[in-house]
Amino acid sequence: MELQIRGLRKVFGGGKVALDGIDLQFTAGVTGLVGPNGSGKTTLLRLLATTLAPNAGQIVWNGIDAAKHPDALRRDLLYVPQNFAGYPSFSAQEFLEYLARLRGVASAAARKAATDALEVVGLGDDRKRRLGAFTPGMMQRLSIAYALQTDAKVVLLDEPTAGLDPGARRLFSNAIRKTAGERITILCTHILEDLEALADRIVALRAGKVAEEVSRDELRRVYADVFELEMAS
């Protein structure tokens, strides 16, 4: 199980270079992506999620270039974008079931997985409520439930804990840690505590390039460097 990116480059309209030919390798465990706003974190996640096409470079998943054959990666992929949203007319239970069925999970198993996941994130009583009536915090919990109800091998999480209360954040950390050994998890966040609790290694991006790639031990130094902060030890 290996995900590699080679010379990945993305240029948006107007010539803005979001990613400038980066090379990275991901193995099982949690990789934390840090960097200032506009450094290319979300673009990198969207390229890996195959919802954006690169201008150059390769995304190699188990020997296949997913930049050219995105379905090869999509089968094993779970992407939780920033500000996770669902169909407003679907209930929470229906929406999770729907996503599980799209992953090819059998009907009964999808129903059970959705019910269990909603129960775990504290939305058991709200599972028949329409998503249009959910608060942003409830939607964030729903995104955790989505991440829990699948056995995807590559999990991409973009700012997953923004707006969560401490209990939900602890749940999120536990959930990611519990499954981290069996999957590649790429976590993009500005929250230092989440990175400290979860990340096995840190990749710092700056201006579309990899500024540093270090182990968890050097997290605080890298965090201070990349955001130009003075940190307490």
Binding site: N83, V105, V120, R141
Partner: protein
């Protein structure tokens, strides 16, 4: 100043929506149909079966009246103030917190809608004017034409825009109710204030200008009979009546100005109804928070289930099940139409197809695609097939849901496969329009409005339409060619739009 800034901002946003350009082109093109040439077999204004004709002033009067009536119909949806849109995207919370008076917030948006209505009037008027200038040559009087067109059409569009904002604020979040109430309310208002009024007096509430035209006509010709607007065929033996058109008299100008005043009063009333401190989303969500989470709750989760790669057919089947489960009434209606089609294939073919043409308008709303947030786009785009596959799946499901009821025609009348094929292709063309404009260009109300208007023109008028896409009048080669061309263009446009998005 703040009011103007709000209006300018909303206007800029709306003008940049590709849907508006399509609306402008569609309306302007449709308007050229409203002034028939002397050789055409239909009229747009008539008196007890006698068609009316005249010069440029008459062309401006009749085209302005018909344009206002038909365009006002769906501009009720297309010219809304964007309040419901902002509620859905949660942008409204930002606007509600601005240091701007509520009336300025509402009036600014309404002013933008008026400006959009004026742009539509001017666009249609100019295109038709150019057509007439070529057709009439030196006889064409541009001032008389433009004066009468704008005198009738502009106040009507102001009124339609004000009603649109009122509906947007009060019931905008209930989209199905909005479409139904808007259509019924518009027709009711039109019939109560226009043709039903006295033939010699101008009704102060007549937003369409119908009583005004009728009063001046009665005054000029001494004929008090009621006029009819719409596309009508002249019965044999009837002689056309000449009329110069509006002059216009002071009372006419006053009546039209009073409609603009009425539209402004509506803005004030609307601002009183705007509940600025009660966002639709927050109100619905604040009833009960989620339960606290115990640290040990994860222990209840067992190993998550494994999936398998779904083929296109399996994905369509999955989507179909969810959509039917979510919309049992729509599904039951489709089944009822299937039975009706079998029973009425020979005797009520026209009605079967006319009702079937409503199915796409109804079903396309059940997919929640037109306003879905970008992050949902990305969540679903990361599944096998990507966005293109996901879109193709949903369109395939829509086709099944809308076309299957029509197959009853083939069962009920197997000796006439051509009408069934033409109707099926017509539904396909309608779906191509709806999904492209509604889902990909995010202009759902425009797509529904144009399709509803076209449905009315084809299903209920006396004049054969230029493109009879469902073969309701006659199944000709042009029907097949138009439908196939429409689907092909929509396919390539859709693909291009999806690729551009990522």
């Amino acid at each position: 100043m703040k009011l103007l800034s709000i209006a300018a901002g909303e206007l800029r946003q709306r003008l940049r929506e590709p849907g508006f350009l399509i609306l402008l082109v569609a309306l302007a093109t449709g308007t050229t149909y409203l002034v028939p040439a002397p050789t055409d077999s239909y009229s747009t204004l008539s008196l007890a079966g006698n068609s009316l004709y005249g010069g440029s002033a008459y062309a401006g009067t009749s085209a302005g009246l018909d344009f206002a009536v038909f365009a006002g119909w769906f501009c009720i949806f297309a010219l809304n103030g964007g309040f419901a849109r902002d509620d859905r995207t949660r942008l409204s919370e930002l606007f509600r917190a601005q240091p701007v008076a509520t009336i300025a917030l509402v009036a600014g948006r309404t002013l933008a809608s008026w400006a959009l209505g004026a742009i539509l009037v001017i666009g249609a008027m100019v295109l038709l004017g150019v057509t007439l200038a070529f057709r009439e040559g030196s006889h064409f009087e541009p001032f008389a034409y433009a004066r009468n067109f704008s005198l009738i059409a502009f106040p009507t569009m102001c009124f339609a825009a004000s009603i649109a904002v009122l509906l947007d604020i009060t019931i905008g979040r209930f989209r199905g109710l909005l479409v139904t109430a808007g259509l019924i309310g518009y027709i009711l208002l039109l019939s109560l204030t226009g043709p039903a009024s006295s033939t010699t007096t101008r009704s102060p509430l007549d937003f369409s200008g119908f009583s005004t035209v009728q009063a001046e006509f009665s005054h000029d010709t001494g004929n008090p009979a009621a006029l009819s607007a719409g596309l009508m065929v002249e019965p044999p033996g009837k002689k056309p009546i000449y009329w110069y058109g509006l002059k216009p008299e002071a009372a006419t100008v006053l009546q039209r100005a009073s409609i603009i005043g009425l539209s402004a009063i509506l803005v004030v009333l609307t601002s009183l109804l705007y509940r600025r401190r009660t966002s639709t989303i927050v109100r619905a969500a604040s009833v009960r928070g989620a339960r606290p989470i115990a640290a040990s709750s994860l222990d209840t989760i067992q190993t998550p289930p494994s999936g398998r790669a779904l083929g296109f057919v399996a994905r369509v089947a999955t989507e179909l099940v969810f959509r039917i489960r979510r919309n049992p009434i729509r599904a039951a209606a489709g089944l009822a139409l299937f039975v009706f089609a079998i029973l009425g294939a020979k005797l009520a073919h026209h009605w079967v197809v006319t009702v079937a043409m409503l199915l796409p308008l109804w079903w396309v709303r059940a997919f929640d695609e037109s306003l879905r947030p970008k992050s949902l786009d990305e969540t679903l785009g990361a599944f096998p097939g990507g966005r293109v596959g996901e879109n193709a799946t949903k369109i395939a499901v829509l086709v099944i849901l809308c076309v299957l009821p029509l197959l009853g025609l083939a069962i009920g009348n197997p000796s006439d496969p051509a009408t069934c094929v033409a109707a099926v292709l017509g539904i396909g063309a309608e779906l191509a329009w709806l999904t492209t404009v509604s889902w990909l260009l995010r202009a759902e109300l425009l797509a529904l409005g144009v399709a509803a208007l076209w449905w009315y023109v084809i299903g209920f008028n006396e004049v054969p339409p230029p493109v009879d896409y469902a073969g309701l009048w006659n199944v000709t080669n042009a029907t097949y060619v138009a439908d196939v061309a429409f689907v092909v263009v929509a396919f390539f446009t859709g693909r291009l739009l999806l690729l551009r998005r990522g």
